[in-house]
């Protein structure tokens, strides 16, 4: 009986990750891609995407759910990269410059986002998502009209032919893979971007250290129960704003790392799905709205991207169209978020029902015991 319950709990607790493992296990042979190719892709994609996913952890610790508002940080990072390309700053210095330009913008946006989320407690995820759309409008207005018209742009090659507004696609050749290639290691058939891994390791160490600080403990207390934290004298709103600000700044850096690996930037929509893919990866890794760990990040990035790599080829081989694999990839991405949120809500409801039953059950038993005396 207990074994059955344990298995049930394990299955319900790891449903998303198990579904993904099963789908990947079926799709890998169907894709007919070599193991070496898939492993190399994973090694590259871990470096490219993990920073963005790690940026989601702090708001979860603070009980604010999945920070869809990280798009704001991504936009700040893109503005930094536009400035770096505009002023002709290349290589790692170009990335550092972009990060330095993006940092104050993302702090300001994070502060705005955190303050708004404090007014929408309990509905942080949808509010953050909507806020992303709003700031996207401001970003587009800035980049499409202000740049070249109000903000001077000296590099004519990045301007639209009309003389203002940035081109749809920005060539990041000047900073392309400058972090990845700063120190890369060749191990057999694989190339490891060690410098990017070092940056990721530093961020992981920072997160572990931060959790142990006073502020980190406060954040976890706020995430556990805001009422109790408030009663204990923790400045709840301020702590939540700090969590969002740090997350937004990390998202800014993460987007810069992501785009330097890609080598070009879709100026007007590169940030659109940043939060979506980061959230999907974290949930695939076994995290939930309330609980996430560093291993969840890496498991999720690997599992999600294995499917991203193999699904178009599997679609091509199975159905004769790579487009089917692309559709598959899209609906799996959205589906996993939906499945995870539904499972989380179901579990919450079940736990609440169990708590209610145990409370009332205990009360009834006590009443029955009292009556019989």
């Amino acid at each position: 009986m207990s074994g059955k319950l344990d298995l049930k709990r394990f299955l319900s607790g790891n449903a998303v990750i198990l579904v993904f493992v099963l789908i990947s296990a079926a799709a890998i042979p169907a894709s007919k891609l070599s193991g070496t190719y898939i492993v190399q892709e994973m090694l590259t994609r871990i470096g490219r995407n993990s920073f963005l996913v790690l940026a989601l952890l702090l708001p979860i610790y603070a009980g604010m759910g999945l920070n869809f508002g990280m798009t704001l940080g991504a936009m700040a990072g893109q503005l930094g990269l536009i400035c770096a390309v505009n002023w002709g700053i290349t290589g790692v210095e170009g990335l550092a410059f972009a990060a330095l330009i993006g940092m104050p913008i993302s702090i300001a946006l994070g502060y705005v986002c955190g303050s708004i989320l404090n007014k929408a407690k309990g509905r942080e995820m949808v509010t953050g998502y909507m806020l992303g759309f709003f700031i996207n409008g401001v970003y587009q207005f800035t980049v499409l009209y202000f740049m070249g018209m109000v903000i001077p742009i000296r590099n004519a090659s990045i301007l639209l032919s009309r003389g203002f507004g940035i081109r749809n696609t920005l060539n990041l050749e000047s900073v392309r893979q400058s972090l990845d290639l700063l120190w890369s290691l060749k191990a057999g058939p694989y190339v490891l971007p060690m410098s990017t891994y070092l940056v990721l390791a530093a961020l992981c160490v920072f997160i572990v250290w931060f959790r142990r600080t006073k502020l980190g403990q406060d954040m976890r207390a706020v995430g556990f129960d805001m009422g109790v934290a408030e009663a204990a004298g923790i400045p709840v709103d301020r702590t939540r704003v700090i969590a969002i600000v740090i997350s937004t700044v990390l998202a800014c850096f993460g987007q810069i790392i992501f785009l330097q690996n890609m080598g070009n930037m879709a100026t007007y929509n590169a940030h659109d799905q940043t939060s979506f893919f980061a959230v999907a990866a974290l949930l695939v890794g076994g995290a939930s709205v309330k609980k996430a760990t560093i291993p969840n990040v890496f498991i999720g990035v690997v599992l999600l991207h294995v499917l991203f790599v193999v699904s178009p080829r599997a679609g091509q081989n199975l159905f004769g169209s790579a487009q089917i694999g692309e559709y598959f990839r899209q609906f799996i991405g959205y589906g996993v978020i939906a499945l995870s949120l539904v499972l989380y809500a179901t579990r919450e409801r079940r736990e609440a029902a169990a708590l209610r039953a145990s409370t009332y059950g205990a009360g009834r038993k006590a009443a029955a015991a009292g009556g019989s005396v």
Partner: protein, 170 residues
Amino acid sequence: MNATTAKRKLKPADLAIRIGLVVLYFLLLALVYTRGRTHTLLLDNKELDGGRLPAFEDVLVSVNGAEPIELYAEDRDLVTLKGQSHRIVLESAADGRKIEKRITLPIGEDMLLLSLPKLAAGEEGAIEVFVPLDAAPPAEDEALPEELGATEMPAEPAPGAAPSEAPPAQ
């Protein structure tokens, strides 16, 4: 009220740290800007002042120890350089003369022209700002009107929409 009081009671040490962070931020910004700024340098091997400074017949130019570039008289080539200070080595193929110079590029300029005869002679002004013809700013009166942006990309009529002009009378 409490927040205001807290702001007023900011400790001098905290204030100093905050000011220090802002200063550090701008220092870092300046550092990465100067170290990462890329310039295009045109290596120009042309005679100057009617032959007062003759061009090298055949010269090898190495910038920062990189693979040398061979230039004949009246040749011009370009290199892309990062940062401000660079070491240039000229090696004349005719007489085997080797000249080593250090140049400093002005930070704000994208494209510069380095006259090799002037550099070899040690004269001032070997580096000049170079403005390509197609990148020269348009004259004030030739500036495009803002409205042109809209006329460049006319809105496409919706499918099935009525034509904007009436058809000619039959």
